[in-house]
Subunit: 348 residues, 2 copies
């Protein structure tokens, strides 16, 4: 039916081995030989059968990306960055959207696609230190994205949660805000990022010589617009006074912003607001939202390269952790014009 390497061998007049050498870019080949094989490949329209290659080599050239869903802008943008990075290295990405919640995250580790992929990039919100053994029991090479505390047992990529949150809060304080809300989500399970961002917020408050006021820390029940809107509605009802908001992610910020505007408050004049994530849409909101840019491209690159290292190095290799940098994007919502204040860190 379809053209195989055997057909190419027959047409070109060389052995299967030689054809294979040409396909795989083996260096020591007479140019003439290479040319004739390539002509035959072209003529026949030969394409290697990947299943056969994978069966033989034990590699599929596909990596998995496990995320809660694809419709959340944050994960869509992350997935896009991972796919671009992977494509540049000749890898395809199989996305597995698993829904949110701890149960789904655990189930995904035993997921059906496990045997199709050479390794997995796993974006976890709910796994904690206690799950390290579980993760180590997975025989697929694995890189974890996100701030779960695994202390050196699993490869992971983390972002500058604390430093980014501190920079965002400092920016609000530098603009003269004195009562800055921390709009913080927690989703039932422990979300380590939230704690780290809260720590950064607190550092900035205290470094400015202000008192950390628990009344200004407001929990939302989801990381989405709905959660931000609901929390802000409640704050306004409760009559809490504030002149700045650091939201732990952009969608919380956008939800809160809408409620603030409906209540007649002007942004940034009455309330300045900064988010976290640098979603594409923050550039187009009204007003454009200031935010912490976690550099998704850097995260994606670090994840893919760490995974490749693990795939090649095997389980013996020591686990590494890479923390990516950030920058603060100052836009209208915090009174900035469109200039960009950058402050990046990089740690290994």
């Amino acid at each position: 039916m379809s053209v195989t390497i055997r057909d190419v061998a027959r047409v070109s007049g060389f052995s299967i081995k030689t054809v294979s050498n040409v396909i795989n870019g083996h260096p020591q080949l007479r140019p003439e030989t290479r040319q004739r094989v390539e002509d035959a490949i072209e003529e026949l329209g030969y394409r290697p059968n990947l299943s056969a290659r994978n069966l033989r080599s034990g590699r599929s050239g596909v990596i998995g990306l496990i995320i809660p869903d694809l419709t959340t802008a944050y994960f869509a943008e992350l997935a896009d960055a991972v796919m671009r990075t992977a494509a540049a290295r000749g890898l395809a990405v199989l996305i597995e959207p698993i829904g949110s919640g701890r149960e789904n995250e655990l189930a995904a580790l035993r997921g059906q696609h496990r045997h199709m992929v050479d390794g997995v990039i796993y974006s976890s919100l709910t796994l904690g230190a206690g799950d390290a053994d579980l993760l180590k029991s997975v025989d697929t090479p694995l890189v974890v994205l996100g701030d779960t505390s695994f202390d050196g047992q699993v490869d992971r990529i983390t972002m500058a949660n604390t430093a980014g949150a501190r920079a965002a809060t400092e920016h609000l304080l530098a603009a003269g805000r004195r009562r800055v809300l921390a709009l913080a989500a927690h989703e039932g399970d422990i979300v380590a990022s939230a704690e780290l961002r809260l720590a950064g917020y607190r550092e900035a408050i205290e470094a400015a010589g202000l008192a950390f006021d628990p009344q200004l820390v407001c929990y939302a029940d989801s990381w989405h617009r709905r959660g931000g809107a609901a929390s802000m509605t409640k704050l306004l009802e409760d009559g809490v006074a504030f002149d700045g908001v650091f939201a732990f992610n952009d969608t919380l910020a956008l939800g809160a912003m809408r409620v603030l505007q409906e209540s007649g408050r002007r942004i940034p004049q009455d309330v300045a607001i900064v988010g976290f994530d640098d979603l594409d849409e923050t550039r187009y909101s009204l007003p454009a939202l200031s935010t912490v840019n976690p550099r998704r491209d850097d995260i994606a690159t670090a994840a893919v390269e760490t995974l490749l290292r693990r795939i090649e190095g095997g389980p013996e290799l020591e686990a590494i952790e890479i923390e990516t940098g950030f920058s603060l994007e100052i836009r209208e919502s915090s009174g900035g014009s469109d200039q960009k204040a950058t402050s990046a860190t990089n740690a290994a």
Copy 2:
């Protein structure tokens, strides 16, 4: 190294064939036999090697989804719907984001993942009637999404572009608007959807006894917020008078809405606006955007099932076309409350 079907056979005491029968749910098996094989599978932690299965069966259980990118909300939501539908049928989805433009779309047809997937769902913006031969030359089973005119040569799923656009425009006219803009994108290449939506707009205008006014048809140079904002800015500069806008998609609408609001116009009091796509975020914009809901779940289901039919039926099968229905979601931007006016069509 890893556990194979041979190990399961050895441990269970049955032949490889019997183990295979159990794995593939072959019906005529003594329950006791099945049980003992399943125990062995469990005990050994056996998982079938998909590469081997695929090599043998010629199927991979993976379908491709070719889209321009994943960060555009429309495609992210489409991809999510396709993945959910596919997962329900035991299929994995390999997304290939190819960038926009005709060149990229053509290149994707020869893409590197072609031999990894059983078939491809291909969301095209730029392919036209002249490309039918090209599409037919692709030996992978293929379902095209979008309104490219292929008249029965390729399986395709189309949406109710004209009917949806007409319903949106009629809704604006019914609310008393008399000068309704058509905010229409065209991206260099021919985008058939835009023509069809324009036709629906025109039908509604003329059915209402109004004259079709070319001055009210405004082209944007992209389907994104930026395009909607730029077009609206130009319209306002030119002093074109209007009291309603039917935008050909939601992001155009959101971009236009921002510019209208900055100019001091109230929505919907001064200008009522309706979009197309029912993106998740339209529920959260300020004001919430009325829009045509193209029922992405229906599109995804039709696409996956048509592809499966093609994969099983082979190239001989006659090509089919399915047009999915729509509903009109009336929200604040067109003066509605939150009720829902539904009008659906379905054709084969």
